[in-house]
Subunit: 368 residues, 2 copies
């Protein structure tokens, strides 16, 4: 193995798996499958989207075939609309037509959408076959850790899914070079989040290295993504099925999801919406015992990445509140918010009053 490759173990008992992070890894996909004893007699299916297919599918398929794998591919349209039951059925059709069996493997080559769709296909095909993640976006550093896979229901996102862990994650940071800069920025929103919820020093490091990260400096990139994956895996290891601690990963997501829902998932990328959501959470901190500088620091970090920190005025406050009440994170009608206490420390609060949220959403729309 290339010495520049960082390896991280996500600890989940029998379902533990490694994440490999480094440059040029996709051209060695076959060797990693061999290392993980993926059998060659059963076909494997690479699921990807049309954008990623044009850039990276060729090299993956070529390598798999060279190593003697019977590799098939299935390309879905790019974008969130592919996270549907109809698309799931098409992936399963492709799996059946390619002759996949119980010893087969599904490889998800792409970002969060492909990972979620292909992951749920792997989780449910014949009640579960092997699954490998090949993330190609910054954001996927987050979605590839923790085993949450799902498709959307017309009424709400991620409603139909599973907790399903991959065999391994092969994270080729060279693939990020082909991403639009807006997507890169949005991906770093989750990285900043990981610092904010868990690691004071890493949060500050993100702020100091925003330019390196945005320009995809390989050293900064590998270190940053490694730390992001590490933090997420520590949280997930302690709470695989999101019963408690794992909720802290939703910092900024309660308001963020509501913004996405109201915008019809068009105006903002996910990372942009949660950037605004994190600003909202930092504002909510004032109603609790908190560190004074939390709001200015959160804003400074997100602005360093060029992420949005204000909500456009045309968003109706009541519409956001209504969407927020429907978010699936409200067990038994109680609103759950992740509230920062200090840089690198958050609390799960169920006593946030809707009046406070209303006030904060109004403020988010004002120039400061």
């Amino acid at each position: 193995m290339n010495p520049g490759i960082k390896e991280l173990k996500v600890k989940l008992g029998k379902r533990s798996y490694p994440i490999y992070i480094g440059e040029g890894l996709l051209s060695g996909t076959g060797a990693y499958l061999e290392r993980h004893e993926v059998p060659k007699r059963s076909p494997v299916l690479v699921v990807t989207d049309e954008h990623v297919a044009a850039l990276h599918l060729g090299i993956v398929m070529q390598d798999l075939e060279m190593k003697g794998y019977k590799a098939f591919s299935h390309v879905v349209p790019a974008g969130e609309s592919s996270k549907s039951l109809a698309m799931l059925e098409k992936v399963i059709t492709a799996a059946l037509e390619a002759g996949l069996d119980r010893a087969s493997t599904v490889l998800a080559l792409g970002g969060g959408v492909v990972g979620d769709l292909a992951g749920f296909a792997a989780a449910s095909f014949m009640r579960g076959i092997r699954f490998v993640q090949l993330p190609t976006t910054v954001l996927a550093h987050d979605s590839s850790v923790g085993g949450k896979v799902a498709v959307n229901h017309p009424l709400a996102k991620n409603m139909i899914g599973a907790f399903y862990q991959p065999e391994f994650v092969l994270y080729d940071v060279s693939a990020l070079k082909t991403l639009p800069i807006r997507e890169i920025r949005a991906g770093y929103a989750e990285l900043v989040k990981e610092g904010l919820i868990w690691d004071h020093n890493f949060a500050l490091w993100c702020g100091d290295h925003a330019d390196d990260l945005l320009s995809l400096n390989q050293e900064a990139l590998i270190y940053g993504l490694y730390q992001g994956c590490r933090i997420k895996s520590l949280v997930v290891s302690q709470d695989e099925t999101e019963l408690g601690l794992r909720a802290i990963l939703n910092l900024g997501h309660t308001i963020g999801h509501a913004i996405e829902a109201v915008s019809g998932y068009h105006e903002f990328l996910h990372g942009e919406a949660i950037s605004i959501g994190m600003i909202g959470s930092a504002k909510l901190a004032r109603y609790f015992d908190y560190q004074e500088n939390i709001y200015t620091e959160t804003k400074r970090l997100l602005k360093a990445f060029g992420l949005p920190v204000r909500l456009p005025e045309h968003y109706g406050t009541e519409a956001i509140l209504k969407a927020l009440m429907h978010d699936k994170k409200f067990t038994e009608g109680t609103m759950t918010f992740i509230i920062p206490k200090n840089l690198g420390e958050v609390e799960i609060r169920r006593d946030v009053q809707s009046a406070w949220v209303r006030e904060v959403i109004e403020e988010l729309k004002k120039k400061e």
Copy 2:
């Protein structure tokens, strides 16, 4: 609890659950939910089919409401065609509209189709919520143990699903009184199978008590279903995700599924098809080290229940063989057959030659 109620524990570590078998249990569904600490603040959803709804939904809903549960119901068309992704989406829609959250429970009231559909809905809704089985058929004694839930893909049965265990199974044998006799017979095919694969004495007991079982004598019924569930749970406990031993539960299923596929799932009920399949397996035993009387004994037991033991002549041998090669149980192209060795003992064989299968299928069509 009524002393006439038999309780059986399916041992699966953290996912262990009890099966309660007795008369008139459905009218006490609410008390069982309470006993299993199903919270009342989150709505529960009863999924059933139109036939069962007409007979048993009222009493269940009434009892749940009386106990203070916010109970909703969703009725699907009766029959195998409800095991589809389209129907799954409708169940999820009903769950969302009823306001189900992560602390909610799905109750499957019905036979195998409802159990499979509602079970997969529970497994995938918000990545998994609580699930309770209320079987109303003989056959469901089999499908309610082991956690296999799934919907069908247009190309093959049970292709999209999960291993997902219920909180508990409440098996009200009084519900069986409303079943057509043909369905009752077919249900006993799996019971005979459980004797054949595991328990010599129980196999003989089934033969001796076929008339009692067919007339739904309550004592025989409760004892027989308890033993069937017990055998299945012993097998499942040792192999939850069907990697090895669990395959023995497929006695008669390899040929049975092929017959079902060729008939377009119309001519035979599942139990009838596997009855013919078990005769086929007993015939295949002659190519191995086996007990001489296995074929005549298997035939005698199945005939005692009035189950079919011959394949109608219009079934093409090649069509059956072709369907058999596509059955999902063929990992890496190797045909797996469960072959009886003795009454109550079987072997998993991967060395069955297709010529033998062809010969046996031809024989199955002949009068003897």
